[in-house]
Amino acid sequence: MDSAIATTHTHDAGHAHGEHEHVVLPQHRHHFETEEQQREAGSFGMWLFLLTEIMFFGGMFFAYLLYRNWYYPAFAAASNQLNVPMGAANTAILITSGFCMALGVWAAEVRQKKTLVITLILTTIFGMAFLGVKYFEYKEKYELHHIPGNNFSVSMFVNPQNYPQYPDTYAEKPLAPDMAQKTQIFFFLYFAMTGMHALHMIIGIGLLVWLIMRANRGDFTNGYVAPIENFGLYWHFVDIVWLFLFPLLYLINRHPLH
């Protein structure tokens, strides 16, 4: 028998794991040659997953690009109805959350359990804060009937003068009714994109809670940082999506051209 590609060594088949005595970590999977290989496979896999995420959001970004060009006045007016302070604050919150996450990865790498747990908790808190702000924004849209669907109302864009409490909108010129209808497309994209983004945040927070629990057990501060690292990639990706959503959705027309 060719030794390189042995086939019928039934006697030692059951001890295949035995070949890897040099591996110390319990999380090492038997089918990887080395832990290095496992770690790199993991991060490569994560990156590939993020590629699919790019394409997933990509479809919506294209829809946005298209309709923004077609219905610019509607998009501009509708965008002005969004709350910039809240959006900007949320951007800052999310960046902070990402910063904490990055520190968390560092903490795991230098094996500081306490720092890791704290940074992960901070990441979670900022993530939740983001969702909290989002909740208030959504609620405002709901009250103004800006949720696309049967209850959608364009009155704010046809008659902005009736809304002195929204200075940005109040200052707008009224939209023609047919154009005002198109604000629904804006709001649909707004909800679809930010909603999808928020969904990713929620999933991320769920994972974070799980990671915190394991980190607290010390799972990730013994040299096994892959889960933290890969989750970090995911979390940062979600941040990046928001970095684009914020200017594209909130800041279309804050510099009235009249």
């Binding site: 028998m1 060719d2 030794s3 390189a4 590609i5 042995a6 086939t7 019928t8 060594h9 039934t10 030692d12 088949a13 059951g14 295949a16 070949e19 999977r29 038997h30 089918h31 990887f32 040659e33 290989q37 790199e40 496979a41 490569f44 896999g45 590939l48 997953f49 590629l51 699919t52 995420e53 790019i54 394409m55 997933f56 959001f57 990509g58 479809g59 919506m60 294209f62 829809a63 298209l66 309709y67 077609w70 219905y71 696309p148 669907g149 049967n150 959608f152 209808q181 198109k182 629904q184 497309i185 649909f188 994209l189 679809a192 999808m196």
Partner: protein, 555 residues
């Protein structure tokens, strides 16, 4: 069995079933349902896609039965519409897309690379469960009353005008899509990271190359389908109008997003099959694949160009003339790498030492039928020609030629080829040859008349059609019956062979791939020791040396 078949090969006569292998390694249903072993997952996939193939096939049978007569007398038009929708959805998303990759690819890629498993066994299992969830949802939609969008979900029809189970089916496809994404992701990582020592890129079997290319398409294309479906679902639920012209949306936007996936998807559906053909042709002509690197690169080229041609499905749907021009040109370019492959396979035969086992017969069928199917694709890619042919039976014939004549034949070639490896037993050779010939004849009888029908103008998705098309339709239905038999036979004799088939031995075909150097069926961990690859793929001289060496040491 004739003299040229495998039984006379040295390995075979002395072969015994190994005592331990991945099938009897653990027992009990749970050991299968919770397995991380890529081979077991492959078998799970094999069973489930076979199930869905026959569901899809049953719908095909119903379609053909209805089309026997010009009137819609077997079923009403709306039922017929549900038939072809189910047929298309089941066949594409639940059968053909996972067919070769999720079964053969799953089983073989780690072994071919000399690895113990795919990079992420749990994700692999997850992807099977996602597939199953998608399949179950599809069946749910079916049981609840079906869906009649056609597999293309054209908006605004699917969003505003149909009140069938579009949401359920959409969700099913969404989920099944993620199954496909994860499979692709797993393959890419495995191919990059898990190759055995010495297994350089250009020593990989072409099967792996073609799966690599297909995986790229799965990872990058499928999410666009997912988002398109999400938008359709949201539009249905909330009644907003991203795709609705009366509300300012553009229905063509959906088409762009859908075909951005679904054109690459057709290459997801053919590339793995091409990989199978490379292995089979090489093995049974005992010769290195002609122009290995050209075949490898053409796979990647198909994948790359595959992203640039989707609009050819929308030529007359109202896209701009100029962009139609661009996409028509690119369509012509994407056809070239396929031609390269076909000629390379043909020339692999030259100066070979050819035998005609069943997989080889299927491979010949593949080459012939894929050539016809592919070249008729060129008809459709030519702008002016497409005007007349689009949405007629010419298209139906085109895609069945590439999908059934191409991929399904390749799938069967692969299943027969690797059956001894997967189960440790041979299939019955003469019966399988009979079924290969039957399905070849039946196939042509079914779909050749459809080319003529298409040029005559018979539109697709018609429950009833004008009288004068009947003759050709009857021929087609007759052919489908033969074809159905041709596809049922393997189910029967492969099942039979599980128990009664001859013991296969390690390498019944005297093939060179790594998978043939280990026992059949393989051990759970594939290799006892990490193999070291010190030769090119398809190195028959290496194999001859090795065999000689074994004979001298053993004997």
């Amino acid at each position: 069995m004739s003299a040229q078949t495998i039984v006379s090969l040295p390995d075979q006569s002395t072969a015994k079933m190994p005592k331990r292998h991945y099938i009897n390694n653990e027992h009990g249903l749970l050991s299968w349902l919770l397995t991380g072993d890529h081979k077991r997952i492959a078998i799970l996939y094999l069973i489930s896609i076979t199930f869905f193939f026959f569901i899809g096939g049953a719908f095909a049978a119903l379609i053909r039965l209805e089309l026997l007569t010009p009137q819609s007398d077997l079923v009403a038009a709306d039922t017929y519409n549900k038939f072809f929708t189910m047929h298309g959805i089941v066949m594409i998303f639940l059968f053909l897309v996972p067919s070769v990759p999720a079964t053969l690819g799953n089983f073989l890629i780690p072994i071919m690379l000399g690895a113990k498993d795919l990079a992420f066994p749990k994700i692999n299992l997850l992807s099977w469960y996602l597939y199953l969830a998608g399949g179950t949802l599809t069946l749910t939609a079916l049981v609840l009353g079906g869906v009649d969008t056609g597999w293309t979900f054209t908006t605004p029809l699917s969003t505003h005008y149909l009140n069938t189970h579009v949401l359920t089916t959409g969700m099913a496809i969404f989920i099944a899509g993620f199954s496909s994404i994860f499979t692709g992701l797993n393959f890419i990582v495995t191919i990059h990271r898990m190759r055995a020592p010495g297994m350089t890129w250009f020593r990989m079997p072409l099967f792996v190359w073609s799966h690599y290319a297909a995986s790229l398409l799965m990872v990058l294309g499928t999410p666009v389908l997912a988002i398109a479906i999400v938008l359709v679902a949201l539009e249905r639920v909330f009644g907003i109008g991203v795709f609705d012209p009366t509300k300012g949306g553009d229905p063509l936007l959906f088409q762009h997003l859908f075909w951005f996936y679904s054109h690459p998807a057709v290459y997801i559906m053919i590339l793995p099959g091409m990989g199978v053909i490379s292995e089979v042709i090489s093995t049974f002509s005992r010769k290195r694949v002609f122009g290995y690197s050209a075949v490898a690169f053409s796979s990647v080229a198909i994948a790359l160009f595959g992203f640039f041609v989707w609009e050819h499905h929308m030529f007359i749907m109202g896209v701009s003339n100029y962009s139609a021009l661009v996409f028509s040109l690119l369509t012509m370019l994407v056809a070239v790498p396929s031609a390269i492959k076909v000629f390379n396979w043909s020339f692999t035969l030259q100066k070979g030492s050819i035998t005609f086992e069943t997989p080889m017969l299927y491979a010949f069928a593949f080459i012939g039928l894929f050539t016809i199917g592919g070249l008729t694709g060129v008809f459709l890619g030519a702008l002016g020609m497409d005007i007349h042919l689009t949405e007629t039976y010419f298209i139906v014939a085109h895609f069945h030629y590439v999908m059934v004549g191409g991929m399904l034949m390749a799938f069967l070639a692969g299943v027969h080829f690797w059956w001894p490896k997967m189960t440790g037993r041979m299939y019955p050779e003469s019966l399988s040859k009979l079924s290969a010939v039957t399905s070849f004849i039946g196939f042509n009888l079914t779909f050749m008349p459809q080319f003529i029908l298409g040029y005559l103008g018979m539109p697709r998705r018609y429950a009833a059609y004008p009288q004068e098309y009947q003759v050709l339709n009857v021929l087609s239905t007759a052919g489908a019956t033969v074809l159905g038999v041709g596809f049922l036979l393997p189910l029967l004799y492969l099942g039979w062979s599980l128990k009664y088939g001859a013991i296969a031995g390690n390498n019944p075909w005297q093939a060179t791939g790594l998978e043939w150097q280990i026992q059949s069926p393989p051990l759970t961990e594939n290799f006892v020791e990490t193999p070291i690859m010190d030769h090119e793929a398809y190195d028959y001289e290496w194999l001859a040396n090795k065999t000689k060496h074994e004979v001298t040491t053993v004997g």
